[in-house]
Structures are given as structure tokens and as C-alpha cells.
């Protein structure tokens, strides 16, 4: 190529066309738009972070708000049932057993409201069986440790259904044999046996877990007696669960034997005997006074 070629020189002399001003403006505007930080690009990240934080905070608040509801589904600590004001079938404890009354009133102070108890009971009806078994465990423990040995020993065997139907008055401190006919007359042996061991004060002092944890059983067994007050139902249910395989006399005799071993200082034998007793009477409620005599040392 020749730099100074005639063609090149002539071409340089041709018209130097340029794009129009409108074209320039359009292209430059497009170029600025292409690199201008858009609103979403500039604020996208901060807005996203803020949204996540707000969402997390809201969820946290919501979870905190729901926590009480979650807790109600858990087994409540042992507490007394509330005092139903008009429960004629309830074997309500009366001043006849002062010690028992003290414990009962103390437990009542920690008790839950009737409405809450009802809600817990309904929750328990829908709970799985495994959960119910777990929830029933504190009931058995509480029954074992119920502080009413005097009343238990003093009160005769009595079916609450029978007594509730016959009289709302407090149980008299009658000899053991006096009420036996009543128990054998009407109450099923399985239910009558533990109730024989449970004085009215014990029923009053029943903790809340039996009412909550054993609700499905109660619904099955006590639907035939709708007149029962919640406490009576709970007591009957708990007693049913605590019913030993053998009679109460046999259990008492065995406990006396263990107590004798403890008194004689034969703790190893007493421990083994106590383990056997637990095995043979898994639901048996050992009176507090007896427990003090037979417990491992």
C-alpha cells in the first residue's frame, strides 16, 4: 500500500459523515444505563439481610410465644388436684386426717387450675401410648411416697365407688374388717384392692400427673361412671395402676418381714427382699411409715 496514494488522498477529502446528535444521545444513554447501579443492585443485599433478620426475629418471638403450649404437653410435676366444689362422689378428705390434710393442702397450693387440667387431659388423650407410660411413672412414684401412712393404716378397705354412692361424708377410722364386705360386695377386686389402701386423704392428695398421664385409661374405665368427680376418677385410675398382683395383706406381711430384717441389721437380705417385693408388687404403694422402715440404708 502506498500511504500517499491518490486514492487515499481523495478518500480523505470525501465527506466526513457523522451520526446524528439523537443517535449519539441514545447510545450514550444506553451506555450509562448499562453500568449505572440499579436500585435492586445497590440495595439488594442490605434488603435481603434485613428481611432475613426480621424473619428470624419473628420466628423467635413466635417460638417463645408457643413455648407454654409445648410445656403443657409434658408431664407436670406431682401436684394435688384442685378442689371441685360440687363433687358428691368425691371421697373428699376431711379434718379426720390432719396430717393428710396438711399434705393435701400443700399440694393443692401447687395444683393446676381445673381448666388447665382439662386441657392437659384432652392433650393426653391424643398422646401416644409411649408418652403415657412415661407420664404415668411419676404417678407411681408419687403413690409410693404419698405421706399418709397413718390414714392408710387407719382407714378400712373401701371401694370409692361404693362409698361415693353411699355417703359423701368423710371416712370413719374404722377397723379393717368392717368395710371389707362392702368392698367384696360391689367393687371389682382389681379396683377395690388399691382403694382399700387409699384413704380419702390420699385421694385428695393425689398429684396431677395421674389425672393427666392416665387420662386414656380413665376414659376407658370410668366412662361408665360419669358422675365421678375428676379427683375420684384420678384416684380410681391411680389405684388401679397401683394394684398389686397379690392381696394387700400379703404385701403388708412381706413389708413387715423386710422391716424386721432391717431392724435386725440384715440389710443385704432386706435389700434383696425389697427388690423381690418390687418385682412382685410393681404397682404397690408403700406407706410412708413403712417405707421409712424398709427403705435401703
Amino acid at each position: 500500500m502506498q500511504p500517499d496514494d491518490e486514492v487515499t488522498r481523495r478518500y480523505r477529502g470525501m465527506a466526513r459523515e457523522e451520526p446524528g446528535a439523537a443517535m449519539d444521545a441514545a447510545i450514550l444513554a444506553a451506555s450509562r444505563r448499562a453500568v449505572a447501579p440499579s436500585l435492586s443492585r445497590r440495595w439488594g443485599a442490605p434488603v435481603s439481610i434485613a428481611a432475613v433478620l426480621v424473619l428470624a426475629f419473628g420466628l423467635t418471638l413466635e417460638m417463645r410465644h408457643e413455648e407454654p403450649g409445648i410445656e403443657t404437653s409434658l408431664p407436670a410435676p406431682p401436684a394435688a388436684l384442685p378442689e371441685p366444689s360440687n363433687a358428691p362422689a368425691t371421697p373428699e378428705p376431711q379434718p379426720a386426717a390432719p396430717a393428710a390434710k396438711d399434705s393435701a393442702s400443700g399440694a393443692t397450693a401447687q395444683g393446676i387450675a381445673p381448666g388447665k387440667e382439662r386441657a392437659a387431659r384432652e392433650d393426653k388423650r391424643a398422646a401416644p401410648a409411649r408418652k403415657l407410660e412415661k407420664a404415668a411413672q411419676p404417678v407411681e412414684d408419687a403413690l409410693h411416697r404419698a405421706p399418709m401412712p397413718e390414714a392408710r393404716e387407719a382407714v378400712p378397705p373401701q371401694a370409692p365407688t361404693e362409698r361415693a354412692g353411699e355417703t359423701p361424708s368423710p371416712f370413719p377410722a374404722a377397723p379393717e374388717g368392717s368395710a371389707a364386705p362392702a368392698a367384696s360386695r360391689a367393687a371389682p377386686p382389681k379396683i377395690a384392692a388399691p382403694i382399700v389402701e387409699a384413704p380419702p386423704s390420699a385421694a385428695a392428695a393425689l398429684p396431677a400427673p395421674p389425672a393427666a398421664g392416665a387420662a386414656p385409661l380413665r376414659a376407658q374405665d370410668l366412662n361408665a361412671a360419669p358422675a365421678f368427680a375428676p379427683r375420684a376418677k384420678a384416684a380410681a385410675e391411680a389405684m388401679q395402676r397401683a394394684a398389686p398382683a397379690a392381696g394387700p395383706d400379703a404385701a403388708l406381711r412381706e413389708l413387715e418381714r423386710i422391716a424386721g430384717l432391717r431392724a435386725a441389721g440384715r440389710d443385704a437380705e432386706a435389700d434383696r427382699a425389697l427388690e423381690d417385693f418390687r418385682r412382685n408388687h410393681p404397682g404397690y404403694r408403700i406407706p410412708e411409715a413403712m417405707w421409712e422402715r424398709v427403705k435401703p440404708r
Binding site: 500500500m1 451520526p19 443517535m23 453500568v35
Partner: protein
């Protein structure tokens, strides 16, 4: 010292809109004339010219400074013009010899060399002679005189080899020279 085209393009790709303005001011005239003399009307030239720059804006992030900016920019223009001709149903044959050149898109009958010689104004005659060139030769001529590309850069922009680009450019110059000499005689 003014920044190079490549530096300006990198700055624009990094978000500097002013760099593009400087780049556009440098190259808008040559690119426009390259497009204008590759097509037959100002309206088509405007459309293609805007499209070329829009594609350059969109492709800013893909630009690599290893390539000269003008080569990159005229490559975009070349592809756009090829698309334009194809859309019009005209075959674009990249042949370099005189015989094959007759198959390429040609200018309107009014710009045939015989009619060009009749033009009174030399510039108009030269313009008519350029328009009468085969597309590949005209493109090589315009890329050399407007874009100031070398034969190698022309080859890179048009997707051919350097020897072919030199041949096209030589044929174009000879034809135009002949057209001017005919006018002088």
C-alpha cells in the same frame, strides 16, 4: 497523555460511563462511515450503527485487552453487516479473485464503473466506485481507511487470513485507482 482505547474499554467495563463517552467520541465517525458505505441508505446505516454500539455495550465484560479495541469493534460491525446482507437474501461470498467477485453483492446499477466516470465531482465518483466494489474488497478498503486496521487486523476482523485480506485490499485499491484515472482522462 490520553488513555488508550483498551484502557477506556476496561474502565467502562468496570463501571466508568465517562470512559465510554471518550471511546465513542473517538470512534463514532469511522464506524459510522464504515457502516454507511457498506450499505445503501442512511436509515440502514443508522440502524446498524446503533446496533453495533449496543452490542459493544452488552459485550463490555467479555472484552479482553489482548485484542486491539478497534479490531474488536470492527469485528462486531462486520458481523452485523453480514447479518444485514443475509437478512436481505444476498449471498456473501468471501472470494478474493476478480472472477469470483462478480458473485458478491454489488452496488446499484447507477454505481457501475461506467456510470461513475460520468460523475462530475471526483468525490462522488470515488464514492460511487467504492460502492461498486465487491463486499469483501469494499470492507477491506473501509477497514483500512476508516478503522486504520492493518492487513492482519482486517483478517482478524473479517475472519480470514492475512494474505486474503491483503489481496482484497489490493484489488480494491486498483479498481478505485482505475476509476479515478478514467475520470482524469
Amino acid at each position: 497523555m490520553e488513555p488508550s482505547d483498551e484502557a477506556l474499554m476496561l474502565a467502562y467495563a468496570g463501571g466508568d460511563a465517562a470512559a465510554f463517552e471518550a471511546l465513542y467520541a473517538r470512534h463514532k465517525g469511522p464506524v459510522f462511515r464504515f457502516v454507511l458505505r457498506s450499505v445503501k441508505s442512511r436509515a440502514e446505516a443508522d440502524e446498524l450503527f446503533q446496533d453495533v454500539w449496543m452490542r459493544a455495550i452488552e459485550a463490555r465484560a467479555r472484552y479482553r485487552p489482548e485484542a486491539k479495541l478497534t479490531t474488536w469493534l470492527y469485528t462486531i460491525a462486520h458481523h452485523r453487516i453480514i447479518d444485514h446482507w443475509r437478512a436481505k437474501g444476498l449471498a456473501v461470498v468471501s472470494l478474493d479473485d476478480e472472477e469470483a467477485a462478480v458473485d458478491e453483492p454489488r452496488a446499484a446499477p447507477s454505481s457501475e464503473p461506467a456510470r461513475v466516470a460520468e460523475a462530475a465531482d471526483t468525490a462522488r465518483r470515488l464514492e460511487a466506485a467504492i460502492a461498486a466494489l465487491p463486499l469483501a474488497q469494499r470492507e477491506a478498503f473501509l477497514l483500512h481507511h476508516e478503522g486504520e486496521l492493518t492487513a492482519a487486523q482486517i483478517a482478524a476482523a473479517t475472519g480470514t487470513n492475512e494474505e486474503a485480506a491483503k489481496s482484497r485490499l489490493r484489488y480494491a485499491m486498483n479498481k478505485l485507482r482505475e476509476a479515478l484515472e478514467d475520470d482524469a482522462t
